[in-house]
C-alpha cells in the first residue's frame, strides 16, 4: 500500500479544517483524516480516535495538534503521538505530499519511517 492517491487540491481543505478519506477510498481498513494545520501544512492520521469511537476530523485543530471532539484527547498531527489523556495509544500517521496544487496521500506509509 505505498501507492499515492490523489485526494484533490490544497484548496479543498481550509486551514483549521479536515476531511475524511474513507477506507473504501483509501484502500486500507480504516478511515483517514487529512488535516490542514495552522502551520499551513497537511497531515494525515487514522480518523477514529484511539480512545473511543469518534472522528478526529470533527475535532478542534490548534497549531499542529488535534483535540478529539468527544473526550478531548489530544494528538500531535506531525507524529500521531498522544498529547493528552484519556487516549493512551498513538494515532497511525500517513504520509502526505503536496505536488503543485495536488494533495497526494500515501495510505499506511508512516511519516515516522517503517
Amino acid at each position: 500500500m505505498s501507492e499515492a492517491i490523489n485526494i484533490g487540491t490544497i484548496n479543498d481543505i481550509d486551514e483549521g479544517e479536515a476531511r475524511v478519506i474513507t477506507a473504501e477510498e483509501n484502500g486500507t481498513d480504516a478511515d483517514i483524516a487529512v488535516f490542514h494545520a495552522e502551520d499551513g501544512n497537511f497531515y494525515a492520521l487514522d480518523d477514529t480516535c484511539t480512545h473511543e469511537t469518534a472522528s478526529l476530523a470533527d475535532g478542534w485543530i490548534e497549531g499542529t495538534e488535534v483535540e478529539c471532539p468527544v473526550h478531548s484527547a489530544k494528538f500531535c498531527l506531525k507524529s500521531g503521538s498522544v498529547l493528552c489523556m484519556p487516549a493512551t495509544l498513538a494515532a497511525r500517521t500517513h504520509k502526505i505530499e503536496v505536488s503543485g496544487e495536488d494533495l497526494l496521500l500515501y495510505p499506511s506509509v508512516s511519516v515516522l519511517g517503517a
Binding site: 473511543e52 469511537t53 469518534a54 475535532g59 471532539p69 473526550h71 478531548s72
Partner: protein
Amino acid sequence: MSTTDNCPSEANAAIGKMRGPEHGPKNIDVSALIDAEGGLIDRSIYTDTGIYDQEMRRIFARSWLFLAHTSQFKKPGDFFTTFMGQDPVIVTMDKTKTIRAYLNSCRHRGMRLCRADAGATKMFTCTYHGWSFDLAGALQSVPNEKAYPEGFDKKQWGLIEVPRVTEYKGLIFGNWDQDAEDLEDTLGDMRYYMDAMLDRDPEGTEVMGGVMKWELEGNWKLAAEQFATDWYHVNMSHASALMVMSPTGKGPKAEIVATPGRQFVSPNGHGAGFPTHPKSRFDAQAVHEHYDYDALRERLGDAAVEGPMTTGHATVFPSFSYLPVNGSIRIWHPKGPNKIEVWAWILVDKSMPDDVKDAQRLYNLRTFGPSGIFEADDGENWSEIQAVSGGFVTNSVPLNFQMGIGSEREDGVYPGQTSELYSDAAGRSFYKHWAELMNTPAWHEHPAPAPAGEPA
C-alpha cells in the same frame, strides 16, 4: 429560525420513571392566600418553602419560559446554558439549524453536563466519566461501553429534551408541558404590546454584548409582579434618578409625573403599563433621533407608538420582563423562596447603525442592569420586603393590591382589558392566574400511559 415546535417531540418516559419518595409532594391549596377580587395577598407566598416547591412543579414545569434570543445562535453547535425554574438547560442549534433545549444534567450520574455559560461545540461531553451527547441529544459515546450488560441501549439514554421550544419574534421560549397551549395563544393580546418593542424594525432585533447576571435577596414574584403592574412606585422609588435624568435637573414637570397611561391586564397573568403623554419619554437621544416616527406609526399604529413603545414596563407570565425604552429584557431565575438571580440582555433593532446601538447600550447600563440608577432602587425594595418577611407577625398581615379595583375595561384603543397606568390590576390578575395554576395538577401529575409492550 426553526424550533422544535415545528416538529414536536414525544414526552420522555424517563421523567418520573422512578416515582420518588413514597409520600410524594404535598400540594397546598393556595385559594385562601390570594383574594384577587378584594385585592389582598397573603405574604407567605413569598417565603413558604412548600409553596416555592409547588411553584417549581405547577408554574415553572408547565409555563412558557424565556430561554434565549435567536441572535445568540448562528451556527450548528452554538449553545447557551440557562435555567427553567431551577432546572438547568442547554439551548443549542443542531445540525439542521433547529433550536433545541435539553436538561443540562448527564443521564449517567446527573452531573451538570455543560459547564460553560455559552460557546460552540460539537458534542456535550460530561467531565465526570465522559458520556458524550451530540447536538441532537443522542448518547454517542460511553467509555468502556463493553462492560455494560447486553441490553444496554444508548438510544434509551439520550438527553432529556424540552418537548416544546418555540420562537416569538426573536425570543425563544421553552415549555416542559408537551400539551401546553401554543405560545402565541398564551400570549394573546400581549403580543400587541410586545410588538411595540420587538417589531419596530422589519429586520427584527438582536441582543448585544453578553448577559448581565446578578443576585438579589427577594422572591421572584416581587420582581415579576412589579414589571407587570407597577408604575405607582416610579415617582417615589426613583425620585433621585428622575431628578438626575430630567433635562433641567429640576425634575420632570407635573404633567409628566401625573401622566395618563394604560395598563394591560391579561387573563394569563401577563401585564404591561405605559404612559400616553406625548412628552413622557425617557429614551436615549440618539435612539430617539434614529427612529422615523411616521414609518413607525404606519407599521405599528398610532396607539402603539404613543403608548407601549414609550417608557413602559411589562412581564410575560411568569418570569420574563422587559422595558421597551432601553431594550432591557430579563428573566427572574428563582433560587429558593428568598433569592432571585437576574439575567439581563440588551435588545436592539438589527438595522440600527452601530453608534445608535452603542448609545442604547450605554443608556441601558446607566439606567438598568447592575450599575443602573433605577435598577438599584428596585432591587433595594424587593430585598427589604424579603428581609423582614421572616417575622411571624409580619408574615401574618395581608398586603394591599386594591388600586384600580373595578377599573378594568375595553377602552376601544388598546387591545384586551386595560386599566389605568396607576393601578394594581395586572398584579391582581398575575396572582389570580398564579393561584389557578398552583391549584391545578400539571402534566407530570397525570398517570403516565404505559409504554407499548410494557404492563401498565
